[in-house]
Structures are given as structure tokens and as C-alpha cells.
């Protein structure tokens, strides 16, 4: 068993109005591991991602990252260490800024790099890392395809040297052929940088092709968690079986 990178224990979130989004959730992601989180709309999977990344600060329960407790008041290194990639690359990038401006701004805020030239160099490295041509640094996301935009969003998340990525349905808005390239990129980031990931999706086939373990969430509770092979070959919970039966597949 690998060293624990992220550990959540007894996480609960209740929204104003009494809606319980998470109920006593335990989840662990090892160093260099990709864990899939699957469930239907409203199951709480995005809420769990937002708690982990620090965007949802009213919760109860304990969060630990790299053997340190994470509190709602995170230190700058803690905030950099856990980054997020959102579902819709059309909505998550400011259309008025070039890719260089989008990433440079972040590096300045988080005091990454020693000057403009060094940051430019880092940006070019990031573009290579996400398999985009360096020339795109000076274009705006609006002139790019959905797949290219999602690569920019990933480059931006990587700019602050994170150790952990929460990806919330990062391919749901993309074509199947573009999706394949993005899935491969997440696999490569783990391979090349040892980046641990929580990969949130309602698409079981995508999760199967990428993740080491899978957690199934239903109505705010993790109902099953197991290695990917076991989830698909021998699902234990009824809800997991229902999800599998509903998933379309090629003959």
C-alpha cells in the first residue's frame, strides 16, 4: 500500500436549508494514485471535490494532506498543493486574457518563478507538458477548440506545482475522440510527475480506463470503494450494479 497523500474522515456537508450533501464520507488517495469518484447528478461528488480543494469550507470531519491537517484556513503551500480542473473549459478561463496572461497572473499571485523571463520559460515547459504548441501561449482561449482549452486549464492548474489534482468531470463537455487525449494526459501526468488525482465522473468507462481505485457515491454516501477491476468485475452494492447496467458500451 502506498503512502497516504490525502485522507478524509467523517466528512459531512449540510447546505443551508438542511440538504445533506455529504454524510460521513471516508476517502483515501495514495501518493501517485488516481481514484475515481462516480455517482449521478446530485450525489455529492462535486461537493466532495470542492471540500478537498478548499472551495467548500463549511463542513465537519477531518482532512489530512501529506500528513498535515487541512483546516478551512489553509497555508499558501497547502493551497498550491491541491489544484482543481473544472468541467467546462468554456466557462473556467477568462476569455479576455491570453494563455500567457492566465498562467502568468497565477504565478505572480503564488510567487512562483524569479522574474518575467523565468516565468515565460516555465509557461513554455507547461505547454509542452500538456502537449500544446508553445505558440498558443499568446492566443486567447476563445480561438481554441474544447480540447485545447481543457489542456490550458490543466496547464494552469499545474503552474503552481501541485501534488494533487481534483478533476471534476473534465471530459463531460468534450467529444469522445478529444476526451481520449485528455484521459491519456491525466495518465501521463501521474506517470511522469507522480501526480495524485481524484477523478470525478459519471462516465464509468472513462473511470475504468484511468483509475486505480473507484469510489461510488450515492446520496452523499460512499456506498462502495474498491480497486477498479473489482468494481467492474464484482460490484458489491446494488447501486454500483445499477450504474454498470446503465452504462453504454461497444459490442
Amino acid at each position: 500500500m502506498t503512502r497516504n497523500e490525502l485522507v478524509a474522515e467523517g466528512l459531512s456537508v449540510t447546505f443551508p436549508g438542511g440538504m445533506q450533501a455529504l454524510r460521513n464520507v471516508d476517502i483515501r488517495v495514495g501518493a501517485g494514485e488516481i481514484v475515481g469518484l462516480v455517482g449521478e447528478s446530485g450525489s455529492g461528488k462535486s461537493t466532495l471535490g470542492r471540500v478537498i480543494v478548499g472551495l467548500q469550507n463549511s463542513y465537519s470531519g477531518a482532512l489530512r494532506f501529506a500528513d498535515e491537517a487541512l483546516t478551512p484556513r489553509r497555508t499558501r503551500p497547502q493551497r498550491c498543493a491541491i489544484q482543481m480542473v473544472f468541467q467546462d473549459p468554456y466557462a473556467s478561463l477568462d476569455p479576455r486574457m491570453t494563455v500567457w496572461q492566465l498562467i502568468h497572473e497565477l504565478m505572480v499571485v503564488h510567487r512562483i518563478g524569479t522574474g518575467r523571463e523565468d516565468r515565460r520559460q516555465r509557461c513554455e515547459d507547461l505547454m509542452r507538458r500538456v502537449h500544446l504548441p508553445g505558440a498558443l501561449l499568446d492566443s486567447r482561449p476563445t480561438s481554441m477548440s474544447g480540447g485545447q482549452r481543457q489542456r490550458v486549464a490543466i496547464a494552469r492548474a499545474l503552474a503552481v506545482n501541485p501534488r494533487f489534482l481534483v478533476a471534476d468531470e473534465p471530459t463531460a463537455a468534450l467529444d469522445v475522440s478529444v476526451q481520449a487525449g485528455i484521459i491519456n494526459l491525466f495518465a501521463d501526468l501521474r506517470q511522469e510527475m507522480g501526480l495524485s488525482q481524484l477523478f470525478i465522473s459519471h462516465n464509468l468507462a472513462v473511470v475504468r480506463s484511468l483509475c486505480d481505485r473507484v469510489a461510488v457515491i450515492y446520496r452523499g454516501e460512499i456506498v462502495e470503494m474498491a480497486p477498479t477491476g473489482a468494481i467492474f468485475d464484482a460490484p458489491q452494492h446494488d447501486y454500483t450494479r445499477q450504474l454498470l447496467a446503465a452504462a453504454p458500451d461497444l459490442p
Partner: protein
């Protein structure tokens, strides 16, 4: 023509559509050819921008103002929908051919009760009374699997879940018992579980109504669930099609189809690295302006677009940018 073996309800032949951008004209569709028989479900797959949705819009006469049909024929029961100054199309649209859109939240009128939206057209055509129309709406809602339809008939679209809204849209598409239903990615916005229910509904409708379905999606695994036949489009052209979907998926003839299949993640079988096509299809302005070569037969009920060794290398290339 004596060779018509099955009676195709919808035939699209050599359909070309030009897009006028400024002074120049570009080929948005180039020689698209396919047919749908009653009781047949044909999948129409391709990437964004391949022209699959545009093909449906051309059939419905819903092309944007800067797009025009430049060549080809669209026939409904053998009659040309493009001729006749659009009179036949007007007669057939909504009765013989209907359409289900991707986003029911956008396609439905937010200030009209769902029951009335479903039967508005039919009630007017058949001269139904208010009470008869409502009874028909309840019946249709039941047919698309909405429980307690009498309660929902007076609801507004915002009161319904995404899956129910899509059922309402399907109800309005089948209200006139059409021969052909055009479906434009109707489950893309839905969850897996709801998607499975809607696909099961389409399957049932195909049998119960005997309608032909032309089902557009970018997801091959969705059409593999319930379609009989398959047409693959790339950059405004038909690249391959088969009357037998299983045969095409088992042995794709065109290199583009092969790479599209290799991009699909699987629920069963060995896990392998997916084929990512990160540089996508040529955009409208970069497309080959020569006319598309005619499809050639490559097996019973199968056709493929001719391709060169260079095409083969192009589609087989590994992901790069």
C-alpha cells in the same frame, strides 16, 4: 428505379450545403448520402463540426440563413422535399418527420404548460377540442413513461427534471405518429442512469410506432446500444456506413472509423490506452474544396469513401499537436 428493396422513409442523396462567410463560400456538407427505413434506427456519428447535426437541420429545413443546399436530394417516401418551393416540406415537417433536440430546457417553451406544448400542433391539425387535446397529451405522457401523467400535464417545464423534460420533448415529437424521428444528441446532457432509460424508450418507440430513427451523437457506445445501422461522418462527408451496425464496428473499413473506435473507453474487455486525436478535423475554411468522391460498396449493405495511403497515415498517427 427497381432496385429499391426496402422502402426507405427518408433518403438523403449527395446532399451538399454551402456556408457563405463574407465573400466566400465553403462546403459545410459535401455529398452526404444515407437512408432510414420505417422501424430502423440509424446512428449518425462524428466529431463536433463533422456536419451530423447540420444534416438533420437540412432535412427539417432549419438551416441558418447563411447556409444553403447546393446539390443533392432529400426524399420523404420518394418525394423530393427540396422541390416544390418547400410546400411538401411544410406539409411533412412535424407530421411525417419530427425532431428531438439536445437541450429540452432550451427547446421547450418555458411559459407554456407541457401538455399543451405536446399536442398544440396535432390538436390544430386534427381540430381537437380542448378536452380531447388534453386527453391526448395525458396519453402521450404515459407513453413516454411519465408516471402520473394527469398530474404533470399542467406542469411547466421548469418544474420537471432534465430526464422528464426530455421525455416531454419526445412526447411532442411522437404526437403526430411520425414516420421518421430525427434525434440530435438527446441524451448528451443527461446522467448515465437517465440516459439508459431514454435509450430504452427510443428502442420501444421504434417497435411500437414503427418509426425510423436517425440518431445523431458523438458517442459510438450510445448508438451501439440500440441502433441497427450506422453512418460515420468526417469533415462534412460520409466516410463509411453499414446497414448492420455490428458488422461495421467489428471490422471498420475506413481509417477514420478505426481511430474513432479506438478513442472509445470500454466497460468490458482489456483496458488499453485510448487513441486521442488531439488535432481535430479540418475546419470549414481548411476543407478540401474538390467534390467528395462517391462511396464504394465494401460488403453487403456497406459503403466506404475511397481513401489513400496518406489518409491512412494521417488517421493512424498518434496524438500530437
Amino acid at each position: 428505379m427497381q432496385q429499391a428493396i426496402k422502402a426507405d422513409a427518408l433518403q438523403i442523396e449527395g446532399l451538399s450545403v454551402a456556408a457563405q462567410i463574407g465573400e466566400k463560400s465553403y462546403k459545410a456538407l459535401d455529398g452526404v448520402t444515407l437512408s432510414v427505413a420505417r422501424g430502423e434506427a440509424r446512428g449518425l456519428v462524428g466529431e463536433s463540426g463533422s456536419g451530423k447535426s447540420l444534416t438533420l437541420r437540412a432535412v427539417m429545413g432549419l438551416l441558418p440563413a447563411n447556409l444553403t443546399v447546393t446539390a443533392g436530394a432529400i426524399r420523404f417516401d420518394g418525394r423530393d422535399l427540396l422541390g416544390d418551393g418547400g410546400k411538401l416540406l411544410h406539409e411533412v415537417r412535424g407530421t411525417g418527420i419530427s425532431m428531438v433536440f439536445q437541450e429540452p430546457a432550451v427547446a421547450l417553451n418555458p411559459v407554456m404548460k407541457v401538455g399543451r406544448q405536446i399536442v398544440d400542433g396535432v390538436a390544430w391539425r386534427r381540430g381537437l377540442s380542448g378536452r380531447q387535446a388534453k386527453e391526448l397529451a395525458v396519453e402521450l405522457l404515459a407513453q413516454v413513461g411519465i408516471k402520473d401523467p394527469a398530474r404533470w400535464v399542467d406542469a411547466y417545464p421548469h418544474q420537471l427534471s432534465g430526464g422528464m423534460r426530455q421525455r416531454v420533448m419526445i412526447a411532442s415529437a411522437i404526437a403526430s405518429k411520425p414516420d421518421v424521428i430525427l434525434c440530435d444528441e438527446p441524451t448528451t446532457a443527461l446522467d448515465v442512469t437517465i440516459q439508459a432509460q431514454i435509450l430504452a424508450l427510443f428502442k420501444a418507440l421504434k417497435t411500437d410506432l414503427g418509426a425510423g430513427l436517425l440518431y445523431v451523437t458523438h458517442d459510438l457506445s450510445v448508438v451501439a446500444e440500440f441502433c441497427d445501422s450506422l453512418t460515420v461522418m468526417y469533415a462534412g462527408r460520409t466516410v463509411e456506413q453499414s446497414d448492420d451496425l455490428g458488422a461495421l464496428i467489428a471490422s471498420p473499413a475506413h481509417p477514420y472509423t478505426r481511430s474513432l473506435l479506438a478513442a472509445v473507453p470500454r466497460i468490458r474487455g482489456p483496458i488499453r490506452r485510448l487513441r486521442g486525436l488531439s488535432s481535430s478535423a479540418p475546419s470549414l475554411t481548411e476543407r478540401d474544396q474538390k467534390p467528395a468522391p462517391a462511396l464504394v460498396a465494401c460488403g453487403p449493405g456497406r459503403q466506404v469513401a475511397p481513401f489513400t495511403a496518406e489518409d491512412e497515415r494521417f488517421f493512424a498517427r498518434d496524438e500530437e499537436v
